[in-house]
């Protein structure tokens, strides 16, 4: 009983803390938008090439479920990740560490809170689905058909995502930006490898609900069979897309036939989620600085005395600098400065920003960066373009600090009380990022110039202007590096898939290059606006 009470209060406090932030409101807006897109048929399930179900309760519920598994499975991780980190940065964790709270219990509390946040999104989608069903649906409301897939499929999936968020936060090297990037690709890989989109519904295919964490196989197989029943020429397969269909053929689908195997498999995923949480508790250092210090010492990236909790004076083992003289008088007088010595120089600030941006990178980071630059210069144009994308993704963890570094390290009051922070510091930070990107892409630029590839040169310039603007805008607007990290990886992934809309680098013939230069300016204006707001409320 006592354990349950602890769990409840831990999850409750964490949940309340998160729901009282602007980020939560943004998440709600995102969820409502997702719900609208799926219920209105803009996100659509189909059986290739162009068979879709009549919009009824079962169809709306299943479309929402597939959308949730895909989008919230991917993005939800980033939404809920951060509660353990917050306990590190606020110092609350150190207080918790002095209580009898066990590691598994702490981790379970965090998982429950994550799960509750994601669970709320499901609940909102159910309500939205109800309304949308009444607006867009062609049949009467069937409440169970609408909510069952969300309850049976989405909830356990979200439980799993919530558990992965806890796991990533408990492993020190997965806690930051690297973990965000790894999850991005890991989820993509897991989704593709478990959804069996091309084979689902084909003769001889048997769903494996125990690998199907997103539930796409379960829904896809049922939908595909319904399409086959209506149109015998349908050979199976299942797709989820936002593409327009040319000649749509409709069929009636009354929902998944739930059986014990499916229900048990969903329960299995919930148990797996709890298992992951318990596993996470093994990695969790329980806010013990010595464990973290040991890891960093092994990595050699910090001094032996490095304090893993910046700001936690009492925990530090660094000896105070010895007092030079027995006397505690001020040993040296300060020379007065005159006005001429205090004249602002942009170049000095730019160099300082550049140092700040690059400081802390290891030798191998520079080694790989130099290797990429050379590889860009000495490869075919096609390969050079791909290498340019990789080179521009390489500094993602540096770029993601733009605009939010001051919040992250709590230097706002110091930095913002300096003269003209908007006119001096912000442009210097932007320019330093642009220079880093230019250097990292210099090999490709040289290659494009030598080949006379005008569009690629223009794309290069647009990209070098656009990326730092995007980073700065997201950093200042959100005060966190997470949003940019997620968006940027997604964006660059779509760029490698040659999606024209996202092509700011002129890689595809249909690239809307002309949009991105003004968009960069717009993003800069947004960054200035957001920073101005920060200046007034630091």
């Amino acid at each position: 009983m006592k354990t349950l009470r602890i769990l409840y209060h831990m999850a409750r406090a964490d949940f309340l803390e998160r729901t009282r932030s602007y980020g939560f409101l943004l998440m709600l807006a995102l969820v409502m938008w997702i719900g609208y897109l799926s219920a209105s048929g803009q996100f659509r399930m189909r059986v290739p090439p162009d068979h879709i179900g009549i919009i009824n309760s079962a169809w709306v519920g299943a479309t929402m479920t597939v959308t949730v598994s895909f989008l919230l499975g991917w993005v939800g991780f980033y939404i809920v990740k951060g509660s353990v980190s917050r306990d590190y940065t606020t110092g609350v964790g150190q207080i918790m560490a002095t209580t009898p709270l066990s590691r598994p219990l702490y981790m379970l509390g965090k998982w429950l809170s994550n799960f509750a946040i994601l669970g709320i999104t499901i609940f909102i989608l159910m309500l939205e689905g109800l309304v949308m069903n009444l607006v867009f649906g062609s049949e009467g409301l069937n409440l169970w058909a609408l909510v069952a897939p969300l309850l049976v499929i989405s909830l356990p999936c979200m439980g799993l995502i919530a558990a992965f968020a806890v796991l990533f936060e408990s492993v020190s090297w997965l806690r930051g930006g690297l973990g965000n990037i790894i999850y991005f690709f890991a989820f993509l890989f897991a989704l593709i490898s478990t959804s069996a989109l091309t084979t689902v519904g084909t003769p001889g295919f048997k769903i494996n609900p125990y690998s199907d964490f997103t539930g796409w196989q379960i829904i896809g197989d049922s939908v595909s069979h319904a399409a086959h029943a209506a149109y015998p020429d349908v050979t199976g397969g299942f797709a989820f897309s936002i593409t327009n269909l040319s000649a749509t053929k409709y069929f009636h689908w009354s929902g998944v036939q739930w059986n014990a195997d499916i229900l048990l498999s969903r329960l299995f995923f919930l148990l797996v989620a709890i298992g992951i949480v318990l596993l996470a508790s093994l990695f969790f250092d329980r806010f013990n600085p010595s464990r973290l210090r040991l890891i960093r010492k092994r990595k050699g990236s910090f001094t032996d005395n490095a304090d893993p909790f910046p700001g936690s004076g009492p925990l530090s083992t660094v000896p105070e600098a010895p007092i030079a003289q027995a006397s505690i008088q001020v040993e040296r007088r300060l020379t007065p400065l005159n006005n001429a010595q205090a004249r602002f120089r942009f170049d000095a600030l730019f160099i300082a920003e550049l140092k700040l941006l690059l400081k802390g990178q290891r030798w191998w980071w520079y080694g790989i960066a130099i290797g990429l630059v050379f590889a860009q210069a000495f490869n075919s144009l096609e390969v050079s373009r791909i290498l340019l994308i990789i080179s521009w993704v390489w500094p993602i963890l540096i770029l993601s600090g733009l605009g939010c570094r001051e919040s992250r390290f709590d230097t706002r009051q110091i930095v913002f009380s300096a003269p003209r922070p908007l006119l001096h510091q912000l442009p210097a930070a932007w320019l330093s990022a642009l220079v880093v990107l230019a250097l990292l892409g210099s090999g490709a630029l040289l290659r494009f110039i030598l080949a006379g590839a005008t569009v690629s040169i223009l794309g290069w310039i647009t990209g070098a202007l656009f990326i730092p603007s995007l980073a700065l805008a997201f950093g200042t607007l959100t005060g966190s590096s997470k949003a940019f990290e997620v968006l940027y990886v997604l964006w660059m992934y779509l760029l490698t898939q040659n999606v024209p809309m996202f092509d700011f680098a002129g890689l595809t013939p249909q690239s809307p290059l002309y949009i991105y230069a003004p968009l960069a300016l717009l993003l800069l204006a947004l960054a200035v606006f957001a920073r101005r707001r920060q200046l007034r409320s630091a």
């Binding site: 910090f302 001094t303 005395n305 490095a306 304090d307 893993p308 910046p310 700001g311 936690s312 004076g313 009492p314 530090s316 660094v318 105070e320 600098a321 010895p322 007092i323 030079a324 505690i328 008088q329 001020v330 040993e331 040296r332 007088r333 300060l334 020379t335 007065p336 400065l337 010595q341 205090a342 004249r343 602002f344 120089r345 000095a348 600030l349 160099i351 300082a352 920003e353 140092k355 700040l356 400081k359 802390g360 390290f409 709590d410 230097t411 706002r412 009051q413 110091i414 930095v415 913002f416 009380s417 300096a418 003269p419 003209r420 922070p421 001096h424 200046l535 007034r536 409320s537 630091a538």
Partner: protein, 292 residues
Amino acid sequence: MKLSISHLSKQYRRDFWGLRDFDLELGPGVIGLLGPNGAGKSTLMRMLATITRPTEGTILWDGVDILKSPDTLRSVLGYLPQDFGVYPNLTALEFLEYMAAIKGLDARSARRRIDELLVVVNLVNAAKRPLSGYSGGMKQRVGIAQALLNDPLLLIVDEPTVGLDPEERVRFRNLLSDLSGERIILLSTHIVSDVEATATEIVVINHGRKIKYAAPEKLLGLLEGKVWQWVIPSTELTALKQKHIISATVRREDGLQVRVISEAPPSADALPIAPSLEDVYLQLVSENGKKQ
């Protein structure tokens, strides 16, 4: 050089004002800002440091409205916030170089100033270590150094001695005394001994309002002949507390030596003693608390 604050107010919620109708005229010297936790000291300091915008009122620096033209003040401002962070991957030297660039110091002057400041804050030996490894006290000293980088005409230091050991604390007080002269230093603290040593004038603030602004001597004069000391049995302490403000107690072999603030002698054994600033502060805050 003059800093004029008039009718300054900051409203945080509909029913809560962090600062209310605050007037003050400051000239060169060390001004100690005393007040209990939550009195509004940091709110006032953040507004003076152009970080937070007031809800009402004006702040003039040599006649220039800093709400309209904050950069006029920022170029001559040094500010040490109560809570602040540093970039953990930078060394103290690099962090100060960065801050010097932001404050607009040229490279040579910055270098010389940083060298001097590192000596002054006693961080020469640790200057090239990453800040992630610094203790709270060392970080505080980096904060003090950054506040002094541009040789500020207005130096605002909010609880500057938090985290400093006793020796560093004395060193900082001496530094403030050295710096005073042709500049305004506003020192906020709830530790009376910090201002006792350095302040030329003291502002006492409570519940967001100024309750006294005077030179320390004048403040001490308020309690002349009203502070008493004598020894009581420990058992009488509770009863005494209900009648008078007790500013100090010292346990002795024969009982408790108490220091009491009272208009009239509180006991036949009580002897009048010289008041301290702590006595004055406690009296003012207590009186103000009763009025609220």
